[in-house]
């Protein structure tokens, strides 16, 4: 079982977390502008990296928040975690934060 460093709660057991796959996959700006191949790429194609991989986790039985992590997919070692939308926290106006 991996010990996952939740950026909000600290290190917790892996079975408290839900996995969210590759991080930073942006929703297309204009989905209607995409052809079938590009839409398929968005829906079904994700990096499947052997090595350092940026991915999302959610601390389901803790703070319930999503965060990004960089983990090695062979050693399973966590190299870095960062809160989602940290930039937005300081720059957003009230009511327009990352979780609204």
């Amino acid at each position: 079982m991996m010990l996952i460093p939740c950026p909000h709660c600290g290190p917790r057991n892996e079975n408290e977390f839900t996995y969210g796959g590759q991080a930073q996959v942006a929703y297309p700006d204009d989905p209607h502008a995409l052809d079938d191949a590009a839409w398929a790429r968005y829906l079904f194609y994700r990096d499947n990296t052997k090595g350092l991989f940026a991915e999302r986790w959610m601390h389901a039985t803790g703070c319930g928040k999503w965060f990004d992590a960089v983990r090695h997919t062979t050693t399973y070692e966590f190299h870095e975690v960062r809160r989602v939308g940290r930039m937005l926290e300081t720059e957003s106006t009230p009511g327009k934060g990352p979780h609204t």
Binding site: M1, N15, G21, D36, W39, R41, F44, N48, T73
Partner: protein, 405 residues
């Protein structure tokens, strides 16, 4: 002294040196790669074939699966493919002249909720329409097939019935690989171990060979059978695949007298169990949720699997786990394999079998060899194309088969 040593055993195949050129190069010497080479040689007369294996033959998922063979899939496309596979399993021991202990002891897929029951009965009817042997059994009938199962109503997930496929079973996976390797080698296929593909030779949008750790090899056609590492190999050719690789674990107990006469699977509680010919109880779990290439998974997955197994089979409570291991499985988003041409000419891909590739070994080899030989898919694998992710014609076996194979 040396002359007193026993004779070396008879080797089943030659360890070939790579030649500079082949008609077809298969990347990956697991069950699917060996089966593809065998069918290329046996059915299509293409014998100038090399199987390149990074490690040793059948040392990946072919040596790590729980050896279950069945064809009770929900959708027509899957049922046709896996049923062909099952009927080929029934022929293969004779065809390959090798008794790999194919044992048609049946498989029970347990239902624990009303939702399970409805899905199961639907699948039984769908199976029958597709010529797959299938029955719906009540808990009492389940108990007759597998007396050690706990069908009491006072457990967390009581058994509300099961689907039963009598023709399903298990086989000894390493012997299957050896049988295929021996016959492929006899037909002229070069089996080349310790040979890692490090790049592809291209002529425009056409693959013309591979770079390997043992030198450059020209090829008329290249077929990928790299399972959990398919993405890595395909990336070398500039081909993205809709695959995520996950750890999948299994375990065995110490040896016991025969107690378990069939194969029992439960998608709901994530366990599947059979008893190997030697006597070990063989159990598989679900995949670990994250992308992983470590060939190991988390212990809590094993723990949950054992808890489920002990509840279903109370007599397992005193059994000891002898060893656990993991493999790397290539999952797709619809839990169905990809056996397909690719946008790159003369490059073909067989991957995405996820947690259920062993049972598909004969059909994978048969249809992939056809696809390579004719440069077009066999009707059985035409629906399992890469394009389905663009056209939307997915073969969504998640509900019916994804958890447990």
């Amino acid at each position: 002294m040396a002359e007193q040593l026993p004779e070396h055993p008879e080797f089943l195949w030659e360890n070939s040196e790579p030649k500079s050129s082949y008609d077809v190069v298969i990347v990956g010497g697991g069950g699917h790669g060996l089966a593809t080479a065998y069918y290329l040689a046996a059915h299509h007369g293409i014998t100038n074939v090399a199987v390149l294996e990074r490690g040793w033959l059948a040392g990946g998922n072919m040596a790590r699966n729980t050896a279950i063979i069945r064809s009770n899939y929900l959708w027509d496309e899957s049922a046709h493919l896996y049923e062909r596979s099952l009927s080929m399993w029934e022929q293969l021991p004779e065809e390959l002249d090798y008794d790999f202990l194919f044992s048609q002891r049946g498989v029970l897929n347990l239902a624990h909720t009303l939702g399970d029951v409805r899905e199961s009965v639907r699948r039984v009817e769908a199976n029958r329409l597709n010529g797959v042997d299938a029955e719906w059994l009540t808990p009492e009938e389940v108990k007759e097939v597998c007396p050690i199962l706990n069908i009491g109503e006072d457990i967390r997930y009581p058994v509300m019935g099961a689907t039963y496929q009598p023709r399903a079973g298990i086989a000894k996976h390493d012997h299957v690989a050896w049988a295929l390797a021996r016959r492929a080698a006899e037909l002229g296929v070069d089996l080349i171990q310790n040979c890692e593909v490090t790049g592809f030779l291209k002529d425009g949008e056409r693959v013309v060979g591979v770079e390997t750790s043992r030198g450059r090899i020209h090829a008329g056609k290249v077929g990928l059978c790299a399972a959990g590492h398919s993405s890595m190999v395909a990336e070398l050719a500039g081909l993205p695949l809709p695959i995520q690789s996950h750890p999948l674990q299994a375990l065995v107990s110490e040896l016991f007298e025969p107690v378990h006469p069939t194969v029992v699977m439960s998608n709901h509680v994530h366990v599947y169990v059979s008893q190997a010919h030697k006597g070990e109880l063989v159990m598989g779990a679900g995949i670990d949720q994250y992308v992983g290439y470590g060939q190991r998974g988390a212990f809590h997955i094993i723990e949950e699997q054992m808890a489920a197994a002990v509840e279903l089979f109370p007599i397992f409570a005193r059994a000891h786990v002898l060893r656990t291991w993991g493999g790397v499985v290539d999952t797709t988003f619809d839990a169905s394999p990809i056996i397909s041409k690719t946008p790159i000419d003369q490059l073909y891909v067989n991957c995405g079998w996820g947690t259920g590739g062993f049972k598909g070994t004969p059909a994978a080899g048969y249809t992939f060899a056809h696809t390579i030989a004719h440069d077009e898919p066999h009707p059985l694998n035409a629906p399992f194309s890469l394009e389905r992710f663009e056209t939307g014609f997915l073969i969504d076996e998640h509900g019916a088969a994804a958890v447990a194979h």
